[in-house]
Symmetry: D2
């Protein structure tokens, strides 16, 4: 698909079962198009996540040598991630923007440019060859992709899960309104791992928040935090609970384990309905 919007539309229209879209990357941060497409319209659900290293191949037409490369094309986002590599290896070549890396490859195939920075998987499609692979300035840089399906039942909890939400606050115009939203999580021991402000209705100064936290909707702690958010916010959109790609199990803090929640629930039930004397 040509864009995140198109891919998610295809899910909504039942053209495909799922779309793998970028949510954030460790160089550029969140991907606004993905956040915004998920925040409105027919509800969708994230069912898994994948971390892909950020690395490019230098794709050329067969026979082309590195010394011959005078022009390079890529999506503008690729440039900050390979700038140092280019300075060391192709300092005289001229860079050109393309609409996407795939578009850059296509235009290399058509002869407009000498080389494209793109995923190596694009080589075959455009009948190009990779002159260099695994090009990046920062070895650990990754993009987090999420697999998005139609809204349904979340995958089962694994103990190392993440939950994604969109939270629409009631009133952000007083000190502490965001604090009180986040306390709905912290009070239940639920650790926020990402928060983004997104402008609402194309006005500056009004935001909704895209939030990730550790844990699964089936967890008692997460369930209670979700209900708390639902009560104090104008709206909450649940975008799924799914296994973390890094498999890091949730840290549990004193008083907020699943066992603690279960014990407290039993205790409350007995206060409300004491056991009869025998």
């Amino acid at each position: 698909m040509g864009s995140v919007s198109a891919a998610l539309d295809a899910v909504r229209r039942d053209v495909v079962h799922g779309a793998m879209v970028p949510l954030e990357n460790s160089v550029e941060g969140a991907v606004p198009a993905t956040l915004d497409e998920l925040a409105v319209g027919e509800p969708l659900m994230i069912t898994t996540e994948v971390l892909l290293p950020i690395a490019f191949s230098l794709l050329v037409r067969p026979g082309m040598q590195l010394a011959d490369v005078k022009t390079i094309a890529s999506h503008p986002h690729a440039l900050p991630q390979v700038r140092r590599w280019l300075a060391s290896n192709l300092s005289d070549a001229e860079w050109h923007a393309a609409a996407s890396n795939a578009d850059a490859a296509r235009r290399v195939q058509e002869g407009q440019f000498d080389a494209a920075l793109a995923g190596s998987f694009a080589a075959q499609h455009y009948q190009l060859v990779p002159l260099h692979e695994d090009i990046h300035d920062r070895a650990e840089a990754v993009t987090r992709f999420v697999l998005v399906s139609k809204f349904g039942r979340p995958p089962l909890p694994t103990g190392a899960d993440r939950t994604t939400l969109v939270v629409f606050p009631r009133d952000t115009d007083r000190p502490g309104s965001l604090v009180s939203i986040l306390q709905e999580c912290s009070t239940r021991g639920v650790n926020l791992t990402r928060i983004e402000s997104r402008p609402v209705g194309s006005k500056l100064g009004e935001y909704h928040f895209s939030i990730d936290f550790d844990g699964h909707v089936e967890d008692a702690s997460v369930g209670e935090a979700l209900m708390g958010l639902r009560r104090v916010c104008a709206d909450v959109r649940f975008l799924g609970s799914y296994p973390r790609a890094d498999g890091i199990a949730r840290r549990v803090f004193s008083g907020t384990s699943e066992q603690d929640f279960a014990n407290a629930a039993c205790w409350l039930a007995r206060l409300r309905q004491p056991l009869p004397d025998v």
Copy 2:
């Protein structure tokens, strides 16, 4: 009964069905003996509360006139509540301490003193007569009594209820430990109406807390707050949910009504178990 301890022991030993004991009064504050007896030992339950105006009768032997009263006896607690009345009406009489107001009345009967400051109900028992009634320095001063029974099912909610607890914190030696306990209430919109520190195990610097808040254990907000306290505290002792004597209905703040809790619970249930497509 001669003391709060004796009265509560009688409840625990099934000698009586209930004991009406003072919990706090508006001049002296909390009644430590009552708080401490309820905090340990076999669990008891408060099932109702009564506010009694603080007023004394001046009890004398039949035939005694005001001009004859040269000595007056009472429990020392009574004195600050009638000091001005005594100054205006019996400025020359000499006050003597008794172990209780009942003891003062007994000693008037025995002829040790001329008059006792006590409840008018004591007159008949000690064959005395009230020379003056409704004696007090502050018209609005009251004592809050609670009716204590064996632990059981709380009375039904009325919409104007109070809940009483004893909370044993896990660690009070860091800034914010009491804050985090109280937030378990405030996050759910539960309003604290009274809090007392009580020393634990006869060491200073370690406390448990005697707490009252608005609402009933059957309320969703109160139930969730109780579970939260149970999770983060070393122990919580529930002492009952019962109608407020003043009948003042609970103020409900945005996002914390019973309806808000119910809506959030339904929403969560649907996230966990979506409706099947038809």
Copy 3:
């Protein structure tokens, strides 16, 4: 002096330079008379504190043996503190309430009772002798006394100080009002060590709070917390910063040391008034 009130009045009227009054004890908790006398009227200041072990002497008329003691008198407060000793040593003797321990000693002198539980210092005054000393059920039980003078400059900080306040909240009728008061302390790393609700104006349901926390008014953290309380409360009465009797130094948590406060203040000053370029 016959009472806490009388002792503090004597300080206010310049009759004495200071009064040593009980603030709390580890069996009975806070001493309401002291808290309330300090909370209103001409401001006073606590300049030091002392912890005195709770222990009684068994005072008898000269010549009396333990085997002869059939009746014992004391203030009712003494009884819970010696109950086990009595059960082991005088299980057949009968206990009687007196208005105070001094009153019990007087009545032993007069021959009404065989023995009094009182401080050993009372023996000489009433011509009694101590048959047993250092009587108590819990070895570690103590009363905390404070030395109160006229309002003035607090003693210098020692690194192991305590600060005592009375806080009059603006509005206690909403969830979180007490939380927001306590957060003024916890945000600055100031650890609350005692809190008592005291009824205001002889009405139940409206309280001010008597508070102790670790640290000294000269500490940056305590100073900022005090200013915060002053801003958000209807009134704050400062009752002094003084060395802790137990000499336990203040625990300092990350980001709230005096050095942290000083560094932050320097940083802010430089933001407001940058160094000129040289």
Copy 4:
């Protein structure tokens, strides 16, 4: 300048006195390049902000008619903001990505494309003419630009100011770490107006935060909040206090006015250094 980086570098190298760069826009949200360039490197300072409506001109070579436009170029960011206009007015034209809107205009001048979507100010520079102006899909959409200079003394407070920071937390891996950061603002009545997570060091899951709040570094409330952030965070970068473009005065909440802060500071000073008796 060809990019935000280049513009800010020019400020740092004293080539220009200031750079006007986009910080966020109401359709796309924050501009990562600007946030990240300001967060590291030699400190810079925002001295004012401007809100510019988002609108494009369709620039063509002189003589070109709308019916002749077969290809259009722009930066990819422009596309979502004019998509509907293009669908209505140029549904058959083919869109091409350019590195920037200025680059698109240059390439129209060179004849590579028929039309560029760019600011109308670009027309003269590239010898183009605007065929249509004020092109946008949402009338109220704006971009917030900030004027960035070398670090120095902030402009004077106006009563309607904004402060921009970058906050590097100490530990984000526990529930409530972000809450405690935000409480440094809310406790002082300082209202957060924008917060963005930005990935740190090209790893996902570790973030710093780009923050705007109401008020000026010279305000007592803002100063105290800044010091609090500085104490509890690993680092804080102050990016300036400057007049809000919309001129909306800061809302002041109970207990957090400048007068409240001043009163509290005087009170504290008198506690520490009481007035001598006269």
